[in-house]
């Protein structure tokens, strides 16, 4: 697992793009990073007359839906983008991946990251954070998941009871909330 090394020479010729978050923080990021966010990319394509490289850091792209804390995490994720989001073949490898995913904050943070990645149309990031949230709810109780997602159970009690009986083995060994 090799992390993409950071650009050794940050002041190199690669163009920079400035992103402005909902709390008015400015982030100067490399073009390659910014272009991973399709929403940002689209912004440029919509204004095709202007050359991205030439305009460089003079361009400020407003991201009114993304908070600075979230964007910082997303950018740090971009810098060490994992090779693949695919489920690993062996158990140890998958556990390593899970640990890696766990580093990106609380489940609440993950929801923010997912929302931001969705808004920015950032496919790999969305997959990654979805997976991280899936890790979190994986072995939780149905009640916990309902609470977490703000969902009210709408099955008739007898329907739910019947289902739980039929698939009793799927409800065994639930983690504590």
């Amino acid at each position: 697992m090799s992390n993409t090394s950071e650009n050794p020479n940050p002041s190199s010729s690669s163009a920079k793009i400035t992103l402005k978050t909902s709390d008015n923080e400015l982030f100067e990021v490399e073009e390659a990073v910014a272009m991973k966010f399709c929403t940002v990319k689209q912004y440029f394509e919509d204004e095709k007359d202007n050359d991205v490289a030439a305009r460089g850091s003079s361009t400020v792209i407003p991201l009114p839906n993304v908070h600075s804390a979230v964007l910082a995490r997303l950018i740090s994720y971009c810098k060490k983008l994992p090779q693949s989001n695919a489920v690993a073949d062996n158990h140890e490898e998958e556990e390593t991946k899970k640990k890696e995913r766990k580093q990106y904050g609380t489940p609440g943070d993950l929801v923010d990251l997912i929302s931001a990645a969705n808004y920015l149309d950032f496919k790999e990031g969305l997959e990654f954070f979805n997976q991280a949230l899936a890790d979190h709810i994986q072995n939780k109780s149905v009640e916990y998941v309902r609470k977490f997602f703000g969902i009210k159970g709408d099955f008739e009690p007898h329907e739910e009871e019947k289902y739980r009986e039929e698939y009793a083995w799927a409800f065994e060994g639930v983690d504590e909330d």
Partner: protein
């Protein structure tokens, strides 16, 4: 709530998607409480859905993505969170996505056989593929297919050796249907193949230099077409050997796909071939036009039935003009692979197991049982 997540389920997708979209809109409209400033998350539809720390309302398409990363057991658990999630996880898009993310890791001969529920029966494991196991109930000699991940079982019908009968699996109801074939359809059933005719099941028989086809026009009413359709085989004139082992696999929009054996240095190999034919033409002699002819890999194939589904896959990949077939095949290979083992190893009464036909989103995998002479 039976038949949950049986992997050969394919619900009719457009309807499901509609429901999802409706639900999505409903959620969006319903959201009123806001603990945090609003964040627009669904850029494409320009909807604004609020997210709050306490009430985390995530759009349904994202929920689907999240759930698709869960192993099967947990998906089964999450099905009872609410009706919406239940529907979501039954959706064929979800199932496809889930399957693409989780490779089937089990090797069937290592799996302990655990009869589900209060069943006292003992099982004998016959074979397995794609996560499905074929088992025999020792007491009753009945065969069943079990989805090892969900532990669901589907009992297979007995072969009826004394009548022309078609047994099909209806993927909508996930049950077997049995139909007596019309009498006098073909005089000799030994040379009959099941054929995919524009997505419908049909039977084909070769009569000299043509193939006669009878199509099941309406699967639900079991209505067979009255006229036999004629596919000319004029191209075999130049290579008479072809006549012997040419097997038609599908006919779609004037393209007919065949397989046949060929040999090089006495090593036989299979070729796939697609011909363009003018079916409207009254002359059976009109020259079909060759579109594709190539050897196909046979490394992981055990027998011809499995082979036919495989070939159909290969043909589609190679012929851009038959792409419509692809989805059909994906669904059917799943169970066809299991059934084919059944046919070759266990129940001699089943002569043909082939892919599916579809009509009004109903899909069938037909088998024909023939009288053994």
């Amino acid at each position: 709530m039976v038949n949950i997540f049986f992997k050969f389920t394919c619900c009719s997708s457009p309807r499901c998607l509609e429901t999802l979209n409706e639900e999505r809109t409903r959620i969006a409209n319903k959201e009123t409480k806001r603990a945090k400033p609003e964040i627009a998350v669904n850029k494409k539809s320009q909807e604004k859905i609020s997210i709050s720390a306490t009430q985390q309302s995530i759009p349904l398409d994202i929920v689907m993505e999240i759930l698709s990363w869960l192993p099967v057991t947990y998906v089964l658990r999450m099905k009872c969170v609410c009706k919406q999630w239940y529907t979501l996880t039954q959706d064929c898009h979800f199932i496809e996505k889930h399957m693409s993310r989780h490779r089937i890791k089990c090797s069937y001969n290592k799996i302990p056989i655990t009869p589900p529920g209060n069943s006292q029966d003992n099982f004998q494991l016959i074979c397995g593929c794609n996560g499905m196991l074929l088992k025999k109930r020792i007491a009753s000699n009945k065969f069943l297919i079990m989805n090892n991940a969900t532990r669901q079982m589907l009992e297979l019908p007995d072969p009826h050796k004394n009548s022309f009968e078609m047994v099909s699996l209806d993927l909508e109801s996930e049950s077997f249907k049995s139909t007596i074939m019309p009498k006098g359809l073909f005089s000799n059933w030994e040379k009959v193949w099941a054929l995919d005719w524009n997505g419908c099941l049909s039977f084909a028989v070769r009569v000299e230099e043509v193939i006669n086809v009878v199509v099941l026009e309406d699967y639900k009413k079991l209505k067979w077409g009255k006229e036999k359709i004629v596919i000319p085989l004029a191209f075999t004139n130049s290579t008479p050997n072809l006549m012997e082992d040419l097997v038609p696999l599908f006919a779609q929009n004037g393209l007919v796909g065949y397989i046949y054996t060929a040999s090089s240095d006495d090593v036989p190999f299979f070729n796939a071939m697609i011909m363009k034919v003018a079916l409207e033409s009254s002359s059976a002699k009109c020259q079909p036009e060759l579109r594709f002819n190539q050897e196909v890999q046979t490394t992981d194939l055990k027998n011809e039935v499995n082979f036919s589904t495989y070939i159909a896959n290969v043909l589609e990949e190679l012929s851009s003009e038959t792409t419509d077939l692809k989805n059909e095949v994906n669904f059917s290979t799943y169970i066809a692979n299991v059934l084919e083992e059944l046919s070759s190893e266990v129940l001699e009464g089943f002569l043909l197991i082939f892919r599916l036909s579809s009509n009004d989103s109903v899909k069938v995998i037909p088998e024909i049982s023939c009288p053994q002479t």
